[in-house]
Symmetry: C2
């Protein structure tokens, strides 16, 4: 496919604004001739950039090892949580479309047509970057979904666990493929609805959820213990353990405030995509 317009390519990570060149034409302080020259120059620069980018994209698409049907595998992954949202196939057009639109686009093998995830549901997957594997036949769309990805309404398409299917008892087959932090988050939520643990007593998590004073004193204590592993030059394994304590107790507080760990990670991403750590520095400077 000829990719006719590529203004967004460089903005996958750092926004590249062709319009900033063109806007020079409407600024004051230029003679008419200078204005025309500026517009011609800007248009020429824009064209030059587009031709350059076009050749880069063509070369990139040529470099993918398309299979005998002209396809490669594409995996959409949530940039904040790491959750694998869905997997589909792409052809050359689908990848080119994703590069330009930054909406995850696939090739439907059954319909033999391109389709952009979200074109019906509006739950697009906004692609922040694309990664190619070492064999150049598999790619990751790393991005942020606007809503649940699966057509069933589930957050991701992977909600059936084989270990559940192999259990002797029938179990509810709605068990998202969660990585550790998100699995812990889910466990903390479950504890909230439990009256008591197996031994008849409430679980430690439940006790923390019921007692804000206990919870806050634990968070302050664990943060202090984490610091002391540095101040008192304790083993690194102790640091890992104390950091785990900080995260776990703070996640119980998040549950009480109905904040998802995904929201927190999103804050971190937004901070450092706005030259984040420096943004933090400026906030601290203002505060102090």
């Amino acid at each position: 496919m000829a990719v006719s317009s590529l203004p967004c390519i460089q903005s996958l990570r750092a926004p590249f604004k062709v319009s900033s060149f063109l806007s020079a034409g409407v600024c004051g302080g230029f003679s008419k001739k200078k204005k025309i020259n500026a517009i011609v120059f800007a248009s020429w620069r824009k064209l030059e950039k587009e031709v350059y980018l076009q050749s880069k994209v063509d070369s990139l698409l040529d470099g993918i090892k398309w299979d005998d049907k002209g396809l490669a595998v594409a995996i959409a992954q949530n940039v904040d949580t790491g959750a694998i949202l869905m997997q589909g196939f792409i052809n050359r057009d689908a990848l080119a479309t994703t590069i330009t639109s930054r909406k995850a686009t696939f090739f439907s093998r059954s319909r033999a047509a391109l389709w952009t995830k979200g074109e019906t549901s509006k739950n697009f997957i906004n692609v922040h970057d694309i990664f190619v594997d070492c064999d150049r036949d598999s790619i990751i769309y790393l991005g942020k979904p606007d809503g649940p990805t699966c057509h069933t309404g589930s957050e991701t398409c992977y909600f059936t666990s084989i270990s559940d299917l192999l259990k002797e008892q029938e179990v509810e087959q709605n068990n998202l493929a969660l990585t550790t932090l998100y699995s812990l988050e889910s466990t903390i939520s479950q504890r909230e609805s439990e009256l008591a643990g197996q031994n008849g007593k409430p679980s430690w998590t439940k006790r923390l959820l019921l007692d804000e004073n206990l919870l806050c004193s634990k968070i302050r204590e664990e943060a202090d213990e984490l610091c002391r592993t540095l101040e008192e030059k304790e083993d690194s394994s102790r640091t890992a353990s104390e950091m785990a304590d900080v995260i776990y107790h703070a996640m119980v507080l998040l549950r009480l405030k109905d904040v998802k760990i995904e929201n927190v990670v999103e804050v971190l991403r937004q901070r450092f995509s706005q030259s984040g750590i420096e943004e933090k520095q400026s906030r601290v400077t203002t505060q102090s």
Copy 2:
């Protein structure tokens, strides 16, 4: 494929020990006849379980939508970090083998043969659970790698970013597909080697790395501010922001102690796979 032995299937999540039945035969307090009966009973129970599990696995394998070449897609994901390690294809035998061996196994299309990741390098991917997608033609091997997954020595096979490839300047093409927390971890590491920021001053991260007192006072302060969002009933958005501060500052401390966030998440997983939160409860009870 006939799967001849399935002792590990149920232990994907909760260890299922057939041996615990057999060991009854060597315990004291039984007469010889009772011992023989116990052994026969245990063997019968084992056989019954294996036949039952075999039928479950067969039914599960029948339920996968294998393509016209008898294949489906398999994605290996790190259970702690969420990193997509590699992607391959599986046939019926490859999936059955992974279920029994719990080592991620694929079908090599080029060699038309099964291969277990790590059979040469010893960097196996230890599969904790397997998830099937809504269409039943794509699966996730969720597990823990013994070492770098890629044959190049890279942690994962996805280390080429398309936004890097499309930049005007040539860039080093070794940019792992990192989700937000791990990208932040990488940024903190980079700051350590920087002398000064763009404005000639050291970045905030660099200042924290150079001043342990400042870092520890910030960690304690941020933990306190997080608690106050609960105690003083502040907005949830404030909680997310304070939690982000706690995580960021604590991650700077991790850098100084050479602890990876993956190590911390692994501690959390090990805790709650050992009936984790209750394990924590018992530790707290012992401490207090």
